[in-house]
Symmetry: D2
């Protein structure tokens, strides 16, 4: 079955393996007229680049994106945008051992069971490199959202036991420090914690958060296509994420209704809320407040510490996973969270345009003229 497509209107299909020739994405359904060049996308891809600090792998992944279609003279044409990143540094030799065994916490065994065999080179399609396509497409979604006044920002909330102090939140800090935390003190503490874990040849988990500001009320659909349901899918589809929360998340289970309800009030003639426990979503539909999504990420499963496992021949063995692995997944996954959130929110906004008949009539009355438009309004309908 097809598992690499996402979205209904702004529809993406990603492709490529860790050690294949290239990775990429096709965006089908990008509106025409968006100013777009490779640097718009490169900026996002660079945020998932390793090798920039002591706490990420030293592998060189120089992911240069190429726009292959869908853009003419700097503007999107409305037809599919194909984006490709060539793999340049894959060294097949590195991964020979893992071809025959099942690494704990990895998808080796499950891919083998599903497909009968697997691309063992660097994890193939189950590698974190799969997110190259998501981020390239997400960069385009973010650029459109900007024009709609919607801002999507993700950052690291916690690493192991170290949590960021949100009262010191600074977007610029989150974009510059190695941990992607939004304040320098927590970053410093987390770097120290990570270096210790690295020395112990172990790895650690963490939590990342994404906020969406400027989203109008009314986005998302009832029942199965709730905005939070789609965000949950989008975020849980990122490798290594084991929990997703909206607003106050799992904490609501221990609350009273009187504590958890957000009172409505008026502000400058508009409806707003006194608190935001709900994380900007009520009944699956945005309420105009900041949307808050949180993802809990497991520790990097690739560790050098000895682990018990089995091989493809059914023998129990011990392995020590070599190679240059990040001691934590979170900092490089933050931009993936931002992109998956942006893709989800944009698609929901595009779908929402058909929610009300009066707005549809207004849209066509305003933007379309054609031979007999006036006349056609007078057509007898029997």
């Amino acid at each position: 079955m097809a598992g690499s497509g996402y979205g209904t209107i702004f529809k993406i299909t990603t492709w490529g393996e860790s050690h294949g020739k290239a990775l990429g994405v096709v965006i089908d359904g990008c509106p025409a007229g968006l100013s777009l060049e490779e640097s718009d996308i490169q900026r996002y891809l660079d945020r998932r680049k390793p090798g920039v600090s002591s706490v990420t792998t030293k592998r060189k992944e120089d992911d240069a994106v190429e726009i292959l279609s869908g853009v003419l003279e700097g503007r999107t044409t409305g037809t599919p945008i194909s984006l490709m990143v060539r793999n340049t540094s894959q060294i097949s030799g590195d991964y020979s051992e893992i071809a025959s065994c099942y690494r704990p916490g990895h998808a080796d065994y499950t891919y083998d069971e599903k497909y009968g065999f697997r691309d063992y080179r660097g994890g193939g399609r189950s590698s974190g490199r799969e997110t190259v396509g998501r981020v390239a497409a997400g960069a385009v979604a973010c650029k459109i959202l900007e024009q709609l006044g919607v801002q999507v920002w993700a950052y690291t909330r916690s690493i192991g036991p170290i949590e960021a102090d949100m009262s010191r939140f600074d977007r610029a800090v989150s974009l510059s420090v190695p941990t992607a935390m939004p304040e320098r003190e927590a970053d410093a503490a987390a770097v120290a914690y990570l270096e210790k874990a690295k020395r112990e040849t172990d790895s650690v988990g963490g939590c990342m958060e994404c906020t969406v500001k400027g989203l109008p009320a009314g986005i998302g659909d009832p029942v199965f296509e709730k905005l939070d349901a789609n965000l949950a899918k989008a975020v849980m589809s990122i490798g290594a994420v084991k929990a997703v929360e909206i607003g106050d998340g799992h904490q609501v289970a221990a609350r009273k209704g009187s504590e958890n309800n957000d009172a409505f009030r008026m502000e400058d003639g508009a409806v707003t809320k006194m608190t935001n426990h709900a994380g900007g979503i009520l009944g699956g539909i945005s309420d105009g407040d900041t949307v808050v999504v949180r993802a809990y990420v497991k520790p990097t499963p690739s560790i050098f510490l000895g682990q018990r496992t089995v091989n493809r021949s059914g023998e129990e063995i011990e392995i020590h996973i070599k190679g240059r692995h990040d001691p934590i997944i979170v900092p490089r996954a933050v931009v993936v969270l931002e992109c998956m959130t942006a893709l989800t929110v944009l698609d929901a906004m595009l779908l929402n345009m058909t929610a009300r008949l009066d707005r549809i009539v207004d849209f066509y009355g305003r933007s379309h003229t054609w031979k007999g438009a006036a006349e056609s309004r007078n057509f007898p309908q029997e």
Copy 2:
């Protein structure tokens, strides 16, 4: 946009409002040949019935299901199964006040923003009664899964601060006690806690859990259609759920890789794991172990305690929500969790049948004969 459809092969569309004429679901894609009668479905619907204890509302909802199509002489025909439940006890008078104001924690405001107006009678489509269609369809999915050796069981994990002791887990208890907890001591404590909350005209939240046993390894798809991603969407789409977890969930963020990885080992000639922190899913694909999903549910937003809010005219007011409301959502939502999980798992199993070419060739070689079948195998393909 259409938000009331779910599934790719086993595709359902639910419809109906709290106080409309009826509620129902159409299942399109149910395999032919399943033995099915109304009592198979009624059994599940009865589990979401109120009025059975001191801790659920006294409203009478006598939800009798009718099979309108898709079943001939007790067997499904492969064509759409239409299931309907007539609303019998709606009293329009009860809800007149809420038509004009926005209840905190409810979808009144967001529906108004999306659609321009809303069905104010009992919450309309945003009511918990919307789940009647999900449960009716889920009952059919569960019956098919049984025949595939897959067991899906949901229950209450915690209510407010009271958590079930899983070492005493008993399915039968969870099906008989008012809290849907799987052991009697926690149930008793939770009932006391709920009665206190009720006296305080407040409400409480809780956590529910679902396990899937007997699921073969290899189910789920890479990237966006991961089994856990689809479970996250399915579960987050249930009203009032604010967090979804797989396996150890949010706890993994504070762990080391050496603690969190599940070691593989051999047992009776088959690959298995020593622990199940992963909750039965690796890389988005089932690993043959028990799948564990958890949902955190907010307290019932309808409380009698005074709350500040605004009305449709933009005036700030105080409301006391009257009516017979459950002090907790969880016990009646447990069967919804079970059904959404079943629908997701079944659809993934059906999709998985096309994962391997050798199995497809085997399927058609085995089950289909036709004029010239033998001959056609020898067709020259240029």
Copy 3:
């Protein structure tokens, strides 16, 4: 697999068999705010009613539609609209013979091969009664299209060798005569032709046509989702249709380019065409001219004349199909063609709203206000 759903935004799911309890449709994605009552739908259903003339069956099908959900106080709410028609006159006894044999030209054999057995009562789901759901949903689509200035009209073009003279086209005639032909002379000739066929216990085929006027240019999508491609699917999905054409259809194959191209010209400041061989669609996208779709329909397969066939036991037999069958399918299928065309065109118009970024920005700037809307336009995007 699910075969009973149609549409992307305006999504319908039909259900029900010829002799089951009821038939119906769920519309998921109807915009909110449409004025709708049962009589709007009944008017279309009545056009597919038999028993109105000497050339249609005398069976009584009193198809009274009931709106079960999605409409409040006469307006659509944006949530699913469930429409149901109870079967009132099914006489199970009539069809006992066909349970055991394969009627030529019918789907008895193919359903048996697909599902292992079939609902033999009146053809089950393969009966023409299946179109009740299509027509009920199509009536709603037509009502929306009216408000967008789009007119969809279908009629009988030919019956056997008798073709309507289009220079005498009169919509009112097509709605009142038994053949649904748009002029009285052809109708009279066709009635005579049909009565002769009936006397011979045979049946005849015919051609029906549908025009769409008032459709703006720009509707439809490139490549696979071309407007004509979707119309072709919609129309070929109607039982007994064996050919679909756009504009001049199969005649273009014998033409020169210089004959077939439609020259563009200006009229009242707007681009238009001097001819319309293309049938209003160029490159899969509407060109503002009248869209013309044609469907060729096979003769009713149920005839009393003796036919050779086989039964389920594999014996060769001869059958004479009894019962009250129309000698032609076309007149009652015309409204189905109209409805399938309307559903296709409406969905394409809804999808088209997201084609251009400037229009999306304009839409949200115009129709949505929310807390901080102004502020959010100034968000720094890094």
Copy 4:
């Protein structure tokens, strides 16, 4: 909206413009284990290559395909297969004039209306070069169908007034002659006819046909997902096709039921038909007989003969379209028809695997073993 995706299980997304950097396709959902190399695909792409005869354009399109992902050591892995063809010979200078005017019979005007502007270089996405992606994907579908014993063959049925004599049908001839006709006499006559049209700087239309042999009965779904409905969409989505037929197509409209019904009979213990007017499909489901699809194609709209049209400034002008254009579209479109048919049939076969519960139970019982498989069969289901 997204218009460049096709298929439900075997899902493809094509991309690329006539004069962009490259064209390609991503196949998401190809079963694992298919032996595949570039030459398998190249063979099909070569059939749509121009410059091979006096009746096709002399443009050099050396379309060399590259497999970028989804294949490991010569076998498909089950993950997306990305196929790319670099554009090598685009000369931007050739098309400067058409940027400002609307060519009759082309999509220039409709793209402008839809998107606000268009890629004018060689027609951009509306060019016949768009089919590169379809053919590359179709080649993979054909290779899978071979292994399932299904043969898909397309060829030219007629060119202008010249029709092939099907009693002399020879697949090898259709693959070698310039017209793709399946017999040499018609080919010779058609070549003479085409050369005359070319001298007159005009173009001609034609008809192409595709047969599917070896397809088991039972493929296709009722109602909207009928096999013929999906074939109609697939074929009508090919540029320049104006009519689609199944079996005897438009001729059935003038027939009697007694002439048109295909009698069933037994042959070697299997059900078969005495004739095949139905073209292998009854009630939307394959009947085990040869499926026959026909497409009528308009003359190449690009002709040098003077034509009246308008330009983007709304001025009426006359144009003579220069450049190297085929005088007929059909011969190079034949392989596209073959590929679209193959994609449709394969997807329907994959979907059909879930039609019967007994076959699903058999599939999982046979192909999956897992820890506790036996035990799970005995799970109490309450």
